[in-house]
């Protein structure tokens, strides 16, 4: 149960090794936080990473749960396992995703299917399960890491971008339903973030860092909004981009 200062007692992170996800949860830790649940495919790296992040002084109970982001069928059970472990979920950050390489998808189109499953299909199942739990609780906040890449899809990043477009759309609709039951959802749309996911890629304009995305996200989670663009200028930039005719959009030198 969150307290009167807005501090959540129980925080859950899907993607316990995600750079942005870890940074969001790290920045949320303050007096009053009792449990963090880290849901990861690779528990060992999550443990190593979080031991370093928290240090020895930490008062927070850390729980690790293993999951496979591609296994849609397991999502309901994963949510149940978390609730059995810590009780009500005050805030859950859904940060796991696959990026993939566009040239690889062209050589092996089937590889695109696993990106679709992780980023869209299985995440949708997860959001449905989390949403039902939060409706039952009568409160709670879901944070979904989306991307500006989904706001207008470019060919050079079309697989990732279209999965984000899909899950972003689903999440917005889910937020409306959650709010009728006391819960809510925040869709975070970062631009290019320098993380291990984007290592080796050419930096896009307005590139940002996990720290900056996290700090904006933590602030927005404390508020009541549904959408966060970070950096905030993207809200206006994509407001324009989304209006451009397809012929012009394709010719923009955006990489």
């Amino acid at each position: 149960m969150k307290n009167g200062l807005g501090v959540p007692q129980n925080i859950v992170l899907f993607g316990g090794t995600s750079d942005i996800g870890c940074e969001i949860v790290r920045q949320m830790i303050q007096p009053g936080v009792a449990n963090i649940v880290l849901v990861s495919r690779d528990i060992d790296s999550a443990e190593t990473r979080w031991n370093t992040l928290l240090g020895d002084e930490s008062q927070v109970n850390v729980h690790h749960v293993r999951f496979d982001g591609a296994d849609a069928g397991s999502m309901v059970d994963v949510v149940k396992a978390i609730v059995d472990e810590v009780g009500d979920i005050d805030v859950v950050v859904v940060a796991h995703a696959l990026l993939g390489s566009h040239s690889d998808f062209l050589k092996d189109p089937v590889a695109a299917a696993s990106v679709t499953t992780v980023n869209f299909g299985a995440t949708m199942v997860l959001l449905l399960a989390l949403g039902e739990r939060m409706k039952q609780q009568g409160y709670g906040r879901i944070c979904l890491l989306s991307s500006v890449a989904g706001m207008r899809v470019r060919w050079s990043n079309a697989v990732y971008g279209s999965t984000k477009a899909g899950i972003d759309g689903f999440a917005l609709a889910l937020d409306g339903e959650l709010r009728r039951h006391g819960a809510s959802l925040l869709v975070v749309r970062p631009g290019f973030v320098t993380t291990k996911m984007t290592v080796g890629m050419k930096k896009a304009p307005l590139a940002t860092t996990p720290e900056a995305v996290a700090s904006a996200t933590v602030k927005a989670l404390g508020g009541n909004g549904t959408v966060l663009w970070t950096p905030s200028a993207f809200r206006f930039i994509f407001g324009v981009f989304r209006l451009l005719p397809e012929s012009l959009w394709r010719r923009l030198p955006l990489g």
Partner: protein
């Protein structure tokens, strides 16, 4: 039944519950019989500051009802008053004061129900003389989760009685209360007001024998004053005025009015350290330097903030918390440290009230013990607050102090376990009274007062 977003008076930690209106015992019994996936809790007028009377995803029984004032029975000889628990102290006082009877204990607002007063074991400015509300309860009826309505009194099942007093509604729904009223000759209070220039003076004035000559005693403290003025304040003490003190033919005339209303929208941060500092300075200067005695009405003396409708909205959408703790009498040093920490941090408290409390009662989870209690209103938006309050919690707990559950919105389960020595005993009595584990609230979940049901 309707799904509603609820919060306490502090307007923080909103959650949704299924709200069921209940007017009488048969309504409560019917509501208990419904399916409850996440338990149920009774709610009165929602004046507990935190999450004591809401139940995220579960059921809330809305009990406040001033419509049953005709069911009040007052014995004009013994002063025993029996009333439905959903009745507010406001309605009760309108009934009893003109008849020459006052409620034995009133908190700072009259907009609480009798049931809420029992569940929180509320205290008032007379705690050093009269103790808290529970001591004045002759008997009460409680509806258990089995649907059975039982009568509890200090003689008849004292264990269950003293577990329900201060039990935060987690033992059952209080349906009727019989309370011993206080005979008064007028509706006025003879009040002595004194300005005191630092904490030492405030403590000294409230500690000497003169304090016991006043039934009511409380000090307002300027939390932003520092240096030699640290803890300066205004001490007000009073007794019910006699008929001869009061002019006119109707000494018990009682007509409380709500004069102002908070505007419908207020920006966050309106009450900040600059505005509060200006208010504090004016408030301190307004009090006479030498002791001054005058007559005040019951609403003006006991319930000044009730004169402003929805004053809790002045904190904006972020809401506020009321932080109230108590430390033993000899730990004035902790008070000084705490006031110093707030003053240094520049964290503004619009209201800061200091009171010397008398002996504790037999209620297992009652807040008051002999000591000093300090009450602060703090805007909830500040990101520094969780850290600051955690350090202060630590000081309070190390000194053998505790926090008031009816106000609490932030302490940890561990803090309650450390501070309330009879918690484990109370939990097992509670489980005996509620074997199906029906009663729960957001407060109970956060502080692990009951076992999780789902």
């Amino acid at each position: 039944m309707s799904r509603e977003r609820l919060s306490g008076w502090g307007r923080t930690a909103w959650t949704s519950s299924d709200v069921v209106e209940v007017r009488d015992a048969s309504d409560v019994k019917r509501a208990i019989g419904l399916e409850h996936r996440r338990g149920a809790i009774a709610r009165g007028l929602g004046r507990a500051y935190g999450a004591a009377a809401q139940n995220a995803g579960g059921t809330v029984l809305a009990c406040a009802d001033d419509g049953r004032v005709n069911d009040v029975h007052l014995d004009a000889v013994s002063g025993l008053l029996t009333a439905p628990a959903g009745l507010s102290l406001d309605a009760l006082l309108r009934y009893s004061v003109p008849r020459g009877w006052f409620i034995p204990v009133t908190p700072g607002t009259r907009f609480v129900t009798l049931g809420g007063a029992v569940a929180s074991d509320v205290h008032g400015k007379n705690h050093h003389v009269d103790g808290s509300f529970g001591q004045h309860v002759e008997s009460m009826k409680v509806i258990l989760s089995s649907g059975e309505e039982i009568t509890l009194s200090p003689n008849d099942n004292p264990t269950w009685f003293w577990s329900t007093i201060g039990g935060m509604g987690l033992t059952g729904v209080v349906s009727e209360v019989t309370v011993r009223m206080l005979r008064v000759a007028s509706s006025q209070v003879k009040v002595e007001t004194r300005r005191l220039s630092n904490l030492d003076e405030v403590i000294a004035s409230m500690s000497d024998d003169s304090d016991d000559e006043f039934r009511y005693s409380v000090a307002w403290v300027d939390m932003l004053a520092s240096g030699r003025s640290l803890g300066r304040g205004v001490l007000t003490r009073g007794n019910h005025a006699t008929a001869s003190d009061v002019d006119g033919s109707e000494p018990c005339r009682y007509d409380p009015k709500i004069r102002l209303a908070a505007p419908p929208w207020v920006p966050n941060g309106l009450l900040n350290k600059f505005t509060v500092r200006a208010f504090n300075e004016a408030w301190y200067r307004k009090a006479p330097a030498d002791a001054h005695v005058g007559l005040e009405s019951i609403p003006a003396f006991f319930h000044p903030l009730d004169g402003v409708r929805k004053w809790n909205a002045l904190y904006g959408s972020n809401g506020f918390i009321q932080y109230q703790f108590i430390v033993p009498l000899e730990r004035v040093d902790v008070l000084r440290t705490v006031i110093g920490k707030f003053s240094d941090a520049g964290v503004a408290s619009f209201l800061a009230v200091l009171k010397r409390m008398g002996k504790s009662n037999a209620a297992l989870m009652s807040f008051p013990t002999e000591g000093w209690t300090l009450t602060l209103d703090l805007a909830a938006g500040s990101s520094r607050l969780p850290g600051l309050l955690e350090r202060i919690d630590e000081l309070v707990l190390d000194a053998g102090g505790r926090h008031y559950l009816a106000k609490d919105a932030h302490v940890s389960a561990m803090a309650v376990e450390r501070a309330y020595p009879r918690l484990a005993e109370w939990k097992s009595i509670r489980n005996e009274m509620d074997p199906r584990r029906l009663w729960t609230s957001d407060l109970a979940r956060r502080l692990k007062l009951v076992e999780e049901t789902s």
